[in-house]
């Protein structure tokens, strides 16, 4: 590899999380705006997510519960920052070609584990209940998610996201994941919704029941870190879905339209429903999306 290529890759790896953060902030805004519109409210102003984060980092007294509490938040944000470098966006591939979907699937689990470590040290019972629910729901949605990833990789004959996107873009709409394997795409949407932790899968936040679960002891910069994590989470989930099923982005305009459009589906559903119990969630997610994903795989492999 020439020196220029290495330099370019380094710049891309630095730029991609920054771009992801900015887009993620707008995704948080869209989520809150949609919630407000559905409830016939005006909703927050344009820069509200940024105000929240700056304010939380600007708190003058910070309560830390120890070293692992600090490291847990760094892991939660860091896992997503690393994942962004593996998600190709128009014009920037970063290290996506070297990473592949399997590495990405591992990296998206790091934040939950980091959060579990951090919350564990807070010794708050609500936090412990919350994190055990978060890990349970991760166990639930990861199974359809992995089956979907397997199906997509089988269909395109590659686990490399850059190749998957290139194949879809070369053939146009008829070769997009969503038209080649619509059942898998539906299962993927279901799994993505569950992975976002929004209603009706909001078992681990549950403000009225366990006081926001993992976030219960987080104030100031810790909560700020979680807000940053949330914007990365929305970005990662939607961009991954767009890359697998909607042909990635030919340019920034179509890319952003697809990402925001995909994210709007779970968000609109979320604010119309209450939430399930933990056991109901596991039963539901292991039944329907898994069944859909298996049928989808049968169609792909026939």
């Amino acid at each position: 590899m020439a020196m220029n290529d290495i330099l370019l890759t380094i710049i891309e790896v630095i730029m991609m999380p920054i771009v992801a953060f900015i887009i993620g902030l707008f995704m948080v805004l869209m989520m809150r705006k949609l919630a407000a519109r559905l409830q016939r409210r005006v909703g927050p102003p344009l820069f509200q997510p940024l105000y929240d984060i700056i304010k939380l980092y600007g708190k003058q007294t910070q309560v830390s519960h120890g070293l692992i509490h600090d490291i847990g938040i760094v892991m939660a944000v860091g896992g997503y920052v690393a994942a962004e470098a593996l998600l190709p966006v128009p014009g920037m591939n970063g290290i996506a070609a070297q990473g592949g979907i399997i590495t990405l699937a591992y990296l998206t689990m790091v934040p939950s584990l980091g959060l579990a470590l951090g919350v564990g040290q807070c010794a708050n019972p609500n936090g412990s209940i919350g994190i055990s629910r978060a890990l349970t729901s991760m166990l639930a949605y990861d199974i359809p998610f992995i089956i979907v990833i397997f199906g997509v990789a089988y269909q395109f004959g590659s686990t490399n996201l850059v190749d998957i996107i290139a194949t879809q873009q070369a053939g146009g709409f008829s070769t997009w994941g969503i038209s080649e394997m619509p059942v898998l795409a539906l299962a993927g949407l279901f799994a993505m919704h569950a992975s976002l932790g929004k209603q009706p899968f909001e078992i681990y936040i549950a403000p009225a029941e366990i006081a926001t679960g993992p976030m219960v002891e987080m104030g100031g910069k810790f909560l700020g870190g979680l807000f940053v994590m949330q914007s990365f989470q929305l970005y990662t989930a939607s961009v991954l879905y767009v890359s697998l099923f909607l042909g990635g982005g030919e340019n920034w305009i179509t890319f952003l339209l697809k990402c925001f459009g995909v994210l709007a589906i779970p968000v609109v559903i979320a604010y119309l429903f209450p939430r399930y119990r933990t056991d109901d969630l596991v039963r539901l997610v292991w039944k329907w999306p898994v069944m859909l994903a298996l049928i989808g795989i049968a169609f792909v492999m026939n």
Partner: protein, 233 residues
């Protein structure tokens, strides 16, 4: 409580002195602007004024367009709304909650009960003036104030935060002896909270001449270290 005790309070409502570095000033102004535009209020309500908050939050008045949203735990919150009379038992919880919040934190007293006891002024079981126990940034009088008044009050608080005038949380550290004295007067000399206010005041350099005094001496003599609760089924 005699009125002479009230004179002990240093009223420090002046804006904080600006830093010499112009970039630091711009940064400070940005942070205080963001503070004023993003206020998380604690979901903790006392008394009857709480009933005026749901309309202020939902579609009719929509607090979220001002950046105000409810938060569930004291660690996450910026504003503590005291929405009505505070019984002595509730006051203990209010103080525990207030001390757990991360500074800068603001207290709003809603309804006349928090101002002077309101219709409960004769009661033996309620705290009459809230600001004898925790520093209050803003009162919204009325029995009960309508959502319009609540919104107006919150907008005034926003203005105060933007100009760095809402510093009552610093008074709690600087005059801890006064507030602790009033708390001991109600709850007895054995009163202690899990939060180490004196230690925080020292760590963040928020001590004043009245942080330590006769009442904190009583606290030191009765203070027991916190122990984990016994595990019982």
């Amino acid at each position: 409580m005699s009125n002479t005790d009230l004179d002990k309070i240093e009223v420090n409502q002046k804006p904080v002195a600006k830093r010499s570095n112009p970039f630091a000033n711009v940064f400070d102004e940005l942070v205080s602007f963001c503070r004023s535009r993003s206020m998380f209020m604690l979901h903790y309500c006392t008394g009857c004024g709480a009933i005026e908050l749901p309309p202020a939050m939902t579609s009719r008045f929509d607090m979220e367009r001002l950046g105000i949203q409810p938060m569930v735990t004291p660690r996450q919150a910026d504003i503590l709304l005291i929405t009505g009379y505070v019984s002595i038992k509730t006051l203990k919880r209010v103080i525990l909650t207030y001390e757990q919040m991360g500074a800068p934190k603001y207290v709003i007293g809603i309804c006349s009960c928090t101002v002077n006891g309101g219709m409960y002024w004769q009661s033996y079981a309620t705290a009459k003036k809230l600001d004898e126990y925790v520093p209050v940034d803003l009162y919204i009088a009325g029995c009960m104030p309508r959502p319009e008044a609540v919104m107006e009050g919150l907008q005034q608080l926003m203005e105060k935060i933007k100009t760095d005038e809402a510093n009552s949380w610093k008074q709690y550290y600087a005059n801890y002896d006064y507030y602790l004295g009033n708390q001991q007067h109600l709850f007895g000399n054995n009163w202690q909270t899990p939060t180490d206010i004196i230690g925080e005041a020292k760590t963040y350099k928020l001590e004043g001449p009245n942080t330590l005094g006769e009442h904190t001496k009583i606290l030191e003599s009765v203070q027991r270290p916190l122990e984990p609760l016994e595990m019982k089924l």
